[in-house]
Point group: C2
Chain length 140, copies 2
Amino acid sequence: MDKKSKSLSKNQKIILDFIQKNKKPVKAYSILSNVQKKGINAPPQVYRALDRLIEIGKIHRVESQNSFVACKISNCDTPHETVFSICNSCEIVSEINDPKLFKHLKAFKDNDGTKFDGYNLEFFGTCKSCINKQIENIQY
Amino acid sequence: MDKKSKSLSKNQKIILDFIQKNKKPVKAYSILSNVQKKGINAPPQVYRALDRLIEIGKIHRVESQNSFVACKISNCDTPHETVFSICNSCEIVSEINDPKLFKHLKAFKDNDGTKFDGYNLEFFGTCKSCINKQIENIQY
DNA sequence: AAAAATTATGTTATAATATAACATTATATT
DNA sequence: AATATAATGTTATATTATAACATAATTTTT
């Protein structure tokens, strides 16, 4: 039985559940304050669960935001090969599922011929919704 | 005159100079302790200079490490389009200069047709030197 | 050159993010 | 049942980053 199919512990379930309920990525201390009523009291309990959930691919860390988001790719088996688009304005994050791009990145070798065992790619821009809001707010 | 050609301020010079002297990325508080003899006393002075140096493309932030590294691409005019390879073992970072990959990433559009104005890509693996060390250390 | 605007500096305090270390309990494996 | 592994609970502390304010230097405009 591999790590993915092992059942989650109590704290891991509570924290995964909270992350999955949120459309936007959540911060560790926001998780903490939201699960305190479930008996999780201190940062290490949160960070441990986060580490484990990342390891098994249930969530990802959004590096540029220090935040955590549920994996949107069903049966994801590549937790360390991630691509996100991030809106500079509302900070919403979408996981990008583009097999062609994945293939291209997976095949990448550097000058030395070093092959990599993972990557994280974050695209930055302004999402449609925020562009529309900007247009609405132009004053004539 | 654009931002790039503006001359740097005193603190910006001191901090850029220190970052450029280091092969590996450096952390903000390591910068601070190393430039205190030059009269830089407090974190905000470091972070302000870092922000500015990033903005003008002289340095980049390595997101997965909370560290800062000098830009290795001469006359870089795309400070928000960065690709790095990072050794999981020694944490050395190399900036990747691969026009074909850049072109591919620059051209990327998501499902909604959103075009992005920047990206950061970090590849993870084990560098040649660390692989060699591992081989040397195998005990028979 | 004087006035105004912008950019950078210096400083103190504090916020936000993350881990070390240790004792204990629960769960899986042999 | 014994052992090993993984998870928990807890306190304290380390690390990373920013807010807020006063001042000084530099650039731009008049």
